[in-house]
């Protein structure tokens, strides 16, 4: 896996929590940030970064290697992990 898995999340979003739990349960190394809990400047920067990657304001946004997944889609996560994206 070339790049670390990164989860752009919102603290209020149950699907973001599920995405983080999915990677925890898989035992894979990942990073996650609740964008809404950051100070405004940092929150804006991360939200803009997620939007640049996904074209969406909907969360979670999950970066797996070179792929970006919008939403909690465990089957898609499985495929990308198996492919070593």
């Amino acid at each position: 896996m070339s790049d670390p898995i990164f989860v752009y999340a919102l603290s209020t979003c149950p699907w973001c929590r599920k995405a983080k739990k999915y990677f925890e349960d898989k035992g894979v190394v990942f990073e996650a940030v609740d964008v809404d809990l950051l100070p405004d400047d940092e929150s804006d920067r991360l939200a803009a970064e997620a939007f640049e990657l996904s074209g969406s304001r909907a969360y979670p946004v999950v970066k797996i290697g070179g792929e970006v997944v919008v939403g909690f889609l465990p089957e898609r996560f499985d495929q990308l992990l198996e492919a070593g994206a």
């Binding site: 979003c13 996904s54 969406s56 909907a58």
Partner: protein
Amino acid sequence: MGHEARKGALRDFYTPLVTAMGYKFTPDDELADFLLEQEAVLEETKGAPYCPCQVRTRERDHDMTIVCPCIPFHRAHFDAMRRCWCGLFVHQDVTDPDSLPQIAASELGIEE
């Protein structure tokens, strides 16, 4: 007003609106309760019951499109998924909300 009372008030407010749009509350009561709790907190802290699963930009034109129920602003996308993004509402004929995955608008060829 505590969150329990506010959650009830939001539910009462939303029900006729989403019914008229062909939607209903998800039959997943635990999910609905969690999402309504988040909306009550967002209303209290950020000024409106924003969608818990869409990010605010603090730009009014955008943020007004994610105030619950935000179905009219994302109609094509949500109709294609038969649910709203956070899953608080599903089409009225849905009995198994777990069968409805989130699908990005871009994957459906829908411009947000």
